[in-house]
């Protein structure tokens, strides 16, 4: 298939902006003093919003899921939720945020990059390596505040 750097950049910028906006609702909730009381319910409606969009996109595409996609999608949903839950549990068991966030974010970047390079034999050049090092440094810096 065609791999186009400009298409990649366009889609990644959409993902970048949309993924960045996604968690900000929790900040709004927190500023309104509702976060501690309704966190689980907030997450439910947050996922409901995602589900509504995903179903609309699926309906519009007219596609039907293959069986292998069902297993994979369920596994990905489970990983997403477990990641958030375990991070929350680590924080509630006394782990400070300045330790938890750099390790979960920076560590996951390192492991996924390692999997890409070693398991999937992806090639990353000098620019890419420099970008990855700066990116990981930026995320660790943000987590440390």
């Amino acid at each position: 298939m065609t791999r186009d750097a400009n298409v990649w950049l366009r889609l990644m910028l959409i993902a970048f902006v949309a993924n960045g906006i996604g968690p900000f609702g929790l900040k709004i909730l927190s500023e309104r003093g509702l976060a501690s009381q309704y966190q689980a319910q907030y997450l439910l409606y947050w996922y409901l919003g995602g589900f509504m969009f995903a179903m609309a996109a699926l309906w519009r595409s007219g596609l039907r899921p293959y069986r292998r996609e069902v297993g994979l999608g369920a596994l990905m949903g489970g990983c997403s939720l477990l990641g958030q839950s375990f991070t929350g549990l680590a924080l509630s068991h006394g782990m400070p945020g300045h330790v938890v966030f750099p390790i979960t974010t920076g560590g996951s970047l390192f492991l996924v990059a390692a999997a890409g390079l070693l398991l999937f034999k992806e090639k990353v050049g000098a620019y890419g390596m420099a970008g990855m090092i700066l990116g990981i440094a930026a995320l660790v810096g943000l987590s440390l505040g």
């Binding site: 791999r3 889609l11 990644m12 970048f16 906006i21 996922y47 509504m52 595409s61 369920a74 890409g116």
Partner: protein, 152 residues
């Protein structure tokens, strides 16, 4: 090892596994729209079960909670769809970084909207994000040039 550390490592492994599965989905030629739909369905199902079976509270929330949650959830779903489509055109090693760099957006929004203080370290980290994105794109362009066609 303390319980909190174990949870932290499990969180790290869960997020890492999610990144790897995005690549597996691409390798298996799964369609981004169906993957997004199934991911959203399963996540909703798991959270619904947690809310119903977990601590008391139920589904009832003030309208403002649902009103905030739903549009931001839509945004996250758009992100997953665009990301899964984008992985077809790039490496998971760099794409996963690109989407994770979005952590800078809520930080900037908090500074602009809620006047949160921004220290030197945070300002430097935010400045590194566009540089990193540029370098990742430059790497893709260099790979295209090396292959000679813009396709691989």
């Amino acid at each position: 090892m303390a319980t909190g550390q174990i949870y932290m490592l499990l969180g790290l492994l869960s997020f890492s596994m999610l990144g790897v599965l995005h690549k597996v989905a691409d390798v298996q030629h799964s369609r981004p729209t169906t993957i997004n739909g199934l991911l959203a369905s399963s996540s909703l199902l798991f959270v619904f079960a947690f809310v119903m079976l977990g601590p008391p509270g139920g589904l009832a929330v003030p309208g403002s909670v649902a009103g905030v949650a739903i549009p931001f959830g839509v945004s996250a779903s758009i992100a997953i769809l665009a990301f899964q489509a984008g992985v077809k055109h790039g490496n998971i090693a760099t794409s996963w970084l690109a989407i994770n760099l979005s952590a800078g957006i809520p930080t900037v929004a908090s500074i602009l909207i809620y006047d949160e203080p921004v220290g030197t370290g945070k300002a430097l980290a935010l400045a590194l994000i566009p540089i990193s994105m540029f370098l990742l794109w430059k790497d893709k362009k260099a790979q295209e040039s090396a292959s000679g066609t813009g396709a691989s």
